[in-house]
């Protein structure tokens, strides 16, 4: 059987057009790949063969058919914190056990009308709390390049499924690196758009002022295709911005001549993994040869980013997750009194990391601590944002490693939250500043051949420069892509 999921969306679209492939064929190919690979990967939170075949059948029987739709029959996996009408959407948490939302997230509605073949829900860290996909109530997703290692998180399922060719495209969400870090660790492309570029309506919130949905794809071209589909102002989301959406595929051009790229000295630090340092430096050389100009810049408040992020993110999360109380939906532990029901439901429903973050956030919003924590964090967040504004006066783009290390071993950091939190050290600042950032593969570690990613960050709403530069590098990369051996 043809393994359609090994193709990029761009290639698959061409095949569909020239060979008149049916959605049912693609669905069958997905299922056979799932049966073969999924037991090793555990990338899906929910995968329903009946639903998938039914959906393919509907697409094939639709006489008006989405022939010219941008994602005609292309499989897309949705992270499990994004609502799909009537389909399990549980944030990989026991507390949402059995929850089927009565509505589609705006991005899902856009995917459906663009003809995409929705292929299931991707595993993730519970409520997106984590960098390793180990906090999921469905068990950890494995890294396709080394099944003993984590795929990164929280969108670990999405990244692993794209890398393992169990899907063509995937949506993730990124609050502090949750798209970019797993993309880097799984050797795929992950983009966090500008805050406000993509509607958050239907994304089950973690940190509302930080969350953004974005594409996880096999290459930069697919990233541009998917971003074009999901972007745009949404009257249902007051924080989405009413700026017209360019056709991002038009930015798929090799051109970095004269582009000034900043290298923040705070990101190239002692303790950075040797392989990561080497691969990122090699990528810098490639871009230099193509005409990009590199300058050293400083983002002086970088060292506070992780602390600020955990205060702001957890504060918002503590309030966002209050609604999971057993009253309306999800699981409930019946008890004789209301308070006992709340306590039992939330204690049984939330895993340890979710509970830790709810307690952290509740504490930092409490009377007497608000000024010292939440308010102070918001002030420092402004300083971090100002750092970027200053930096972008000197350069058009910033280049850094995505993650300080390649994928670590399952269980290596789960007992040590602080060291786990530090794996997002390079990705968090973009969320605090609201700017767009992309992670693209830049090679493999010498030992174990683990993928390594580099991150590009741009000004607000300048996804075009990100895509153009990432595409230029991708086309000229001086290393050979290796598929995971599954």
């Amino acid at each position: 059987m043809q393994e359609y999921c090994k193709l990029s969306a761009n290639q698959l679209k061409e095949d569909i057009a020239s060979k008149n492939i049916k959605a049912a064929d693609i669905a069958s190919s997905l299922i056979s790949r799932y049966d073969k690979v999924e037991p090793k990967i555990n990338g899906f939170a929910h995968f329903d063969k009946e639903i998938l075949l039914g959906r393919a059948d509907t697409i094939d029987k639709d006489p008006k058919g989405p022939k010219n739709s941008p994602l005609n029959k292309v499989p897309v996996v949705i992270k499990d914190n994004i609502c799909v009408e009537n389909e399990l959407t549980t944030c990989a948490s026991k507390i949402l056990d059995g929850f089927r939302p009565p509505y589609d997230a705006t991005v899902v509605a856009k995917l459906k009308s663009s003809g995409a073949l929705l292929a299931g829900k991707a595993n993730m860290d519970e409520f997106a709390f984590g960098s390793s996909c180990e906090t999921s109530c469905y068990g950890p997703t494995k890294n396709p390049y080394d099944l003993n290692r984590i795929p990164g998180g929280s969108s670990g399922g999405s990244a692993a499924l794209v890398a393992a060719d169990e899907t063509v495209l995937a949506l993730g969400s990124d609050t502090g690196g949750s798209i970019r870090q797993p993309a880097a660790l799984c050797g795929v492309v992950g983009m966090k758009p500008t805050y406000g570029r993509v509607s958050r309506y239907g994304l089950i919130a973690f940190g509302s002022s930080l969350d953004q949905i974005g594409p996880i794809t096999k290459d930069v071209t697919d990233s541009a295709i998917l971003l074009s589909v999901i972007s745009g102002y949404d009257p249902m989301d007051s924080t989405s911005v009413d700026i017209s959406v360019p056709d991002y595929t038009k930015s798929l051009a090799e051109d970095v001549k004269g582009l000034k790229i900043g290298l923040p000295r705070e990101y190239f630090i002692e303790g950075l993994d040797k392989d990561v340092k080497e691969r990122v430096s090699a990528a810098i050389s490639v871009l230099k040869e193509l005409g990009a100009e590199f300058i050293e810049i400083s983002l002086p408040h970088t060292e506070y980013a992780v602390s600020v992020y955990y205060i702001v993110g957890c504060s918002e999360a503590s309030s966002n997750l209050a609604r999971f109380d057993g009253v309306q939906y999800g699981s409930r532990e019946n008890r004789d009194s209301l308070m006992d029901m709340y306590k039992a439901t939330r204690k049984r429903g939330f895993g340890p990391e979710a509970r830790r973050r709810i307690i952290l956030g509740t504490y930092s919003l409490s009377s007497g601590y608000y000024d010292a924590y939440y308010l102070k964090a918001q002030k420092v967040r402004m300083l971090i944002k100002n750092d970027f504004d200053e930096a972008f006066k000197r350069c058009g783009l910033i280049l850094t490693p995505t993650s300080p290390t390649p994928a670590f071993k399952i269980g290596e950091k789960i007992k040590d939250p602080l060291s786990m939190y530090l794996s997002d050290i390079f990705t968090i600042p973009a969320n605090l500043a609201g700017i767009p950032a992309i992670s693209i593969p830049c090679g493999y570690s010498k030992e174990g051949g683990l993928p390594i990613g580099l991150q590009l960050m741009a000004k607000h709403f300048d996804e075009e420069t990100l895509i153009r530069t990432a595409y230029t590098y991708e086309q000229n990369a001086n290393w050979k892509k290796v598929r995971p051996n599954l």
Partner: protein
């Protein structure tokens, strides 16, 4: 009590009658079957997001301006976090440190003097749902229809010095609001709710006494009764040498007393913080100015105009303007029949007593200006007298028929035929010889009794002026 001063502040929660709810597109309507006016947003479903209703925003500014309150530069919403099953998100979207407006006042009249009661702030927030408890069931029901209804919280300064002033403040506030047409202001239906803070202190003491918050009052009179009870309770507590505990107490309308609900120590930490789902925005001065220009006449201005334009007394004018629909009705009547004083008398006298008797509101009546002026014209033409008119008015109010039709249907028109009245006058004089003699011997008011007797014989249909004239004539003639 004269040795003690009372300090009261009121917190009003006002439901605004916008077409849709505060942050979603659901209908904002009272009385629908449970959990039908709901959507993922007002149910707080995972992933849903609030979007501010523009009409809510504009209505809120209207109220702030009508209270002379200064509208903020920036619109900002906060989350007030607490767990309760009627609150689907377990936080309420509200405003904390940057309310919609600050300052302002309401004028009340107390002991014939005007007093300004300061407004501290007006802020916007969403309403919660309703819990329904069935004694027979081991659980409670939740109705989310009310969830997300747009509310305004109007907080007064502690300028209110007595339960009577508090009552007057509520009446005057309702009057100002009724002019804006933004709320039903119905305390029984819950579209206006009132909590009160009250403390007392010895006259010579400067700092305020320990305050107690009162909740659960269901009418303006209930607020007054609760405050009267609490004022007395606090005084008795102090006189007994005990201390007032800072607490929240619930008014029990059946038992006519306040009962402890929770003390300060049990108060929530609401963990307010800016709602990241609702982006801050600058409130355009153009919009504020436009709303200010379009504000309707206030009751105070209208009262003065009624005095000037229609020559009404202060009392008459103030009663009419207190109720916007009533004052509009009055003006419509005057346009049809230019006898303002006469019309005002009917509206303030008979109509008000009808409303009191039926515990109703003017705006709920179906009477039209034409109904009333036609009836008054019939009086002026002598077709009916005042007494008949009172009955006819009641019938107009209960059936919606016109005065002319009622007169025709019942054959009730005034007896103006002198010969018919003469006949009856003779009968009356014959039956009351002593009263007749009293009149002849100089007791002028004896005639009134005789006229009354004659009216009785005609069930009030005789024209009293003619009856008077005829009786007088017969007695004078007999004397000679």
């Amino acid at each position: 009590m004269s040795e003690y001063l009372t300090t009261i502040g009121l917190e009003i929660h006002l439901q605004l009658a916008t077409k849709t709810k505060a942050f979603c597109g659901c209908q904002n309507k009272f009385g629908q079957s449970p959990n039908t006016a709901v959507c993922p947003v007002c149910l707080g479903f995972p992933g849903s997001l609030p979007v501010l209703n523009k009409e809510y925003f504009l209505c809120a500014i209207k109220v702030a301006l009508a209270l002379d309150s200064e509208v903020a530069e920036k619109m900002k919403f906060d989350r007030k976090n607490y767990f309760y099953p009627d609150l689907p998100k377990n936080y309420q979207i509200s405003q904390y440190d940057m309310p919609l407006s600050k300052g302002g006042f309401i004028e009340i009249t107390i002991d014939n003097a005007v007093k300004k009661i300061g407004i501290t702030r007006v802020h916007m927030e969403e309403d919660a749902g309703k819990l329904i408890h069935d004694e027979k069931e081991p659980f409670s029901y939740v109705d989310y229809n009310r969830t997300g209804t747009p509310l305004l919280e109007i907080v007064s300064e502690p300028d209110i010095a007595s339960p009577d002033e508090a009552y007057s403040y509520l009446v005057c506030l309702k009057s100002v609001l009724s002019y804006l047409d933004v709320s039903d202001c119905n305390m029984e239906e819950g579209s206006l709710r009132c909590d009160a803070n009250i403390s007392i202190r010895p006259k010579q003491q400067k700092e305020l006494g320990t305050k107690v918050e009162l909740k659960n009052m269901n009418s303006f009179k209930g607020v007054k009764r609760a405050l009267e009870y609490e004022q007395k309770r606090q005084l008795e507590t102090i006189l007994a040498g005990e201390k007032i505990v800072q607490e929240t107490r619930l008014w029990n309308e059946d038992k006519k007393r306040t009962e402890p609900m929770r003390t300060k120590e049990e108060a929530h930490d609401y963990r307010y913080f800016p709602d990241p789902d609702l982006a801050d925005f600058t409130i355009s001065r153009d919009i504020v100015d436009k709303i200010r220009e379009s504000l309707p006449e206030t009751p105070q201005v209208k009262c003065n105009r009624f005095k000037d334009e229609y020559n009404l007394s202060e009392y008459d004018a103030s009663v009419l303007v207190m109720d916007k629909p009533l004052s509009d009705f009055f003006e419509a009547c005057v346009k049809l029949y230019a006898k303002p004083k006469y019309i005002a008398n009917w509206l303030i006298g008979e109509l008000q007593s009808y409303l009191n008797e039926h515990n109703s509101e003017f705006k709920l009546l179906s009477i039209t200006p034409r109904h009333l002026t036609e009836m008054i014209e019939l009086i002026d033409k002598g077709v009916i007298n005042n007494k008949l008119a009172k009955d006819i008015l009641k019938e107009i109010l209960s059936t919606g028929k016109t005065a002319g039709n009622i007169v025709k249907e019942k054959g009730i028109s005034q007896i103006t035929d002198k010969s018919a009245i003469q006949q009856l006058a003779y009968e009356v004089l014959k039956e009351n010889p002593k009263v007749r003699d009293d009149y002849v011997s100089g007791k002028k008011n004896a005639l009134g009794f005789l006229v009354g007797q004659l009216m009785k014989k005609t069930q009030g249909k005789a024209n009293p002026a003619i009856a008077n004239q005829v009786l007088k004539h017969i007695i004078e003639k007999d004397k000679t």
